[in-house]
């Protein structure tokens, strides 16, 4: 009886693997998206996409993966179930990063060469507004309530707060050199921006627009210039922040309350962008120089495995 029960459990486990998710990785130099099975961590498909795929984003309904095909000047839509490109969306020139409104109706896209943020009405497949910002817009982050979009501009070194209703810049915050990514804390109280050349993460109060803290990175054995923060990810409970440190080949684990760096996790080379598994038990990092992704166990705060993907992996997103 016991044996029967055990085998039944084993059968169920087989039928429903612990990580049934798909991991999508954009390969900037291969013009492909690699699809990795979250359970076996094996590549299941390499999908040909537009030129220079960079940021990728899951639609709010989880059915589509949006891909910034930067040199094709458009967004592509990948069906998560069939792994086929099902269509394209206008993006404005050279889309680099983007974010979605909470209801999924609008995408906000940074047009790196055109110094503006485009508002894309997804259903109408139309750019409905363009907001001018500084030079080389990159990071885009929508507030949890959808009312504000923060865009960072790399050469202007600012975080621009855009009112999505008025379609206007309402505040500009000067941060350290070459800001890349903006991220809202889950409670919407703060916006964190990473300055790649400045080597800091600025913590901005989302109401007053004042910088309340600049987080620096001191990694034993590395000169300070090596820590070049890019992607920032918060756990849903807001209790932990992960910051990818580029050529330092590490991900910093930060306590968002004390702003203290608790740990540096060694990953692959030139780690820029990251994505959580849907259950947030794992964090995946795209390593642009070693051409792989690293799987981090979130609870253990440890790198557990690397998976080779295409050339210059840029973004990584996991879908259930």
């Amino acid at each position: 009886m016991m044996l029967k029960l055990l085998s039944a459990v084993a059968l169920i486990a087989l039928a429903e693997p612990a990580f049934a998710e798909k991991i999508f990785v954009s390969n900037e130099k291969d013009n492909t998206v690699t699809v990795v099975d979250g359970d076996s961590l094996k590549i299941v498909e390499t999908v040909k996409v537009g030129q220079r795929p960079r940021a990728i984003l899951l639609s709010t309904d989880g059915k589509s993966l949006y891909i910034c095909a930067s040199d094709s000047d458009e967004l592509q839509v990948l069906d998560v179930a069939t792994l086929k490109i099902t269509g394209t969306l206008p993006s404005g020139a050279d889309p680099e990063r983007f974010d979605t409104s909470p209801d999924g109706k609008m995408l906000y896209i940074a047009n790196e060469n055109d110094n503006k943020v485009s508002f894309l009405d997804v259903a109408a497949k139309k750019i409905v507004a363009e907001v001018p910002v500084g030079i080389e817009p990159e990071g885009v982050a929508v507030s949890p309530d959808g009312k504000i979009v923060v865009d960072t501009t790399e050469t202007t070194s600012m975080a621009h707060f855009i009112d999505t209703e008025a379609k206007k810049v309402v505040a500009n915050v000067l941060v350290d050199s070459r800001p890349r990514v903006a991220a809202w804390t889950p409670d919407g109280a703060q916006v964190w921006t990473s300055s790649e050349v400045g080597g800091t993460v600025a913590v901005i109060d989302s109401k007053t627009h004042a910088i309340v803290k600049k987080i620096g990175f001191e990694i034993p054995g590395l000169t300070s210039g090596k820590a070049q923060p890019v992607d920032i990810k918060f756990t849903k409970d807001g209790k932990t922040a992960f910051v990818a440190l580029g050529p330092a080949n590490r991900v910093a684990v930060i306590d968002p309350k004390s702003f203290e760096v608790q740990k540096y996790i060694l990953v692959g080379q030139r780690v820029w962008n990251m994505g959580f598994s849907p259950d947030q038990k794992r964090l995946y990092t795209a390593n642009g120089v070693s051409n792989d992704i690293t799987v981090i166990d979130v609870a253990e705060q440890k790198a557990v495995k690397s998976v080779p993907v295409g050339r210059s992996p840029w973004g990584v997103v996991a879908a259930p």
């Binding site: 060469n113 110094n115 500084g134 030079i135 206007k168 810049v169 505040a171 500009n172 050199s177 210039g225």
Partner: protein, 406 residues
């Protein structure tokens, strides 16, 4: 159409252009009312450049100034969020007297920030004018080591890299490759002698041996005529025979007179580096790392040609002014000059690190690229060349050795 209508139309067009170019923001987007523009003068010598050896790369007539213009657009965009505006005047002069005249005129009009594309003697002539005491001159194109040593000036900063930095970048790369021996081929121009000096100093520093110095004296005349290549090949083979074994042929030919004719023609098969072949430089066409692709494409779009080393020097100079104004929250040129020299200043130059000015000789610290026409080979400082304060100070003349006493 009457003239009046034509003018009206023209004005209308301009107004439209202004609207498109200057986006309007909500009132809260602007913190301050705009201050008077920050005046920058670009002062360049009109150079009668001789045709280079390769027909493929004709020297652009607007080298340098285009870098300043692209940086101006960058500064203006940032400035609009801070209520700061910039204004660039351009003086391209025929000679030293013209440079002095233009410089005096601009100072009289209140300009205190200058970006120069001037050879060392003229640069010193303007920097030493009594009127120039309180100005900041950003030297965008002169590589002379003397300008960072015995001829350094308090009012001059250098965004161009020095020959010492170029040579050190190359020697560091040789060290990482464990290449220890050089054959040094030196052209006849005075600049080539200075380049060779820098190579000698650097080789001494890194204990690399120069097995032979070979002066280039050959003038092949019409080498582009049919069969001209035979004479060139024979000459290069001749001068590189009877040379003790070497790892790298280093060429000093700043005016592009012959260096491109060395590769593949030496008696022993050896790679060529220096002013041709693999070139240590501040900027290079194949360079695309650290977001450099953005600047490359922005420049290409704005000017219709590729960015050169001199364009990059001028771009950095104007951007340095912009960064100092932005970070120092000031439009006062004296304060901008002060801020640039201070410890809170840095400028991002698409090289993955902060660029700052050395306080002992006014040189902007920066990584040096090693690239040929089609590929980026490496970037110095090489890994493992460590420094007490900044690894970038392993390139060029460091504080303890400086001969600059301002």
């Amino acid at each position: 159409m009457s003239d009046l209508v034509a003018i009206m139309k023209l004005l209308g067009l301009f107004a439209l252009g202004a609207l498109v170019a200057t986006p309007s923001f909500g009132p809260s987007a602007f913190a301050q009312t705009p201050s008077p523009p920050i005046e920058i003068d670009y002062l360049g010598l009109k150079v009668e450049r001789t045709l280079p050896l390769s027909y493929l790369d004709q020297p652009p007539a607007d080298e340098g100034v285009q870098g300043a213009r692209v940086a101006m657009a960058d500064n203006q965009t940032t400035g609009q969020f801070l209520g700061q505006t910039y204004h660039l005047t351009e003086d391209i002069v025929p000679d030293a007297a013209g440079a002095v005249d233009a410089f005096k005129k601009r100072i009289a009009a209140g300009t205190k920030l200058f970006v120069t594309d001037l050879p060392a003697p003229i640069l010193l002539q303007v920097a030493d004018l009594p009127e120039a005491k309180d100005v900041t001159v950003l030297d965008a194109t002169a590589h002379d080591d003397a300008l960072r040593a015995e001829s350094c000036r308090k009012n001059v900063l250098h965004t161009a890299i020095s020959r010492a930095m170029q040579a050190d970048a190359l020697m560091q790369y040789m060290m990482t490759k464990k290449w220890g021996k050089i054959a040094l081929i030196i052209g006849g121009d005075p600049a080539d002698k200075l380049y060779a000096d820098a190579v000698r100093n650097s080789a001494r520093k890194f204990r690399i041996k120069i097995v032979k110095e070979i002066p280039w004296t050959f003038d092949p005349g019409s080498r582009r005529t049919d069969t001209g290549h035979y004479a060139v090949e024979a000459e290069v083979a001749r001068i590189t025979q009877d040379v003790d074994d070497y790892d790298l042929a280093v060429v000093a030919d700043e005016a592009d007179n012959f260096g491109d004719e060395l590769p593949y023609r030496t008696t022993e098969p050896r790679p060529v580096a220096g002013t041709q072949g693999m070139v240590p430089a501040a900027w290079a066409r194949p360079f695309e790392q650290w977001g450099a692709t953005q600047l490359q494409s922005r420049f290409l779009k704005a000017t219709g040609r590729w960015m050169t080393d001199n364009d990059y020097g001028a771009w950095l100079a104007v951007r340095a002014v912009g960064e100092a104004a932005t970070r120092g929250s000031t439009t006062d040129p004296a304060k901008i000059g002060e801020f640039m020299r201070g410890k809170d200043f840095d400028v991002a130059g698409f090289k993955g690190t902060k660029l700052t000015f050395r306080d002992w000789d006014g040189q902007l610290r920066q990584p040096v690229l090693l690239a040929d026409a089609r590929s980026l080979v490496s970037v110095s400082p090489q890994p493992g060349f460590l420094h007490q304060f900044s690894e970038l100070d392993t390139l060029g003349v460091d504080r303890p050795e400086t001969k600059c006493h301002m």
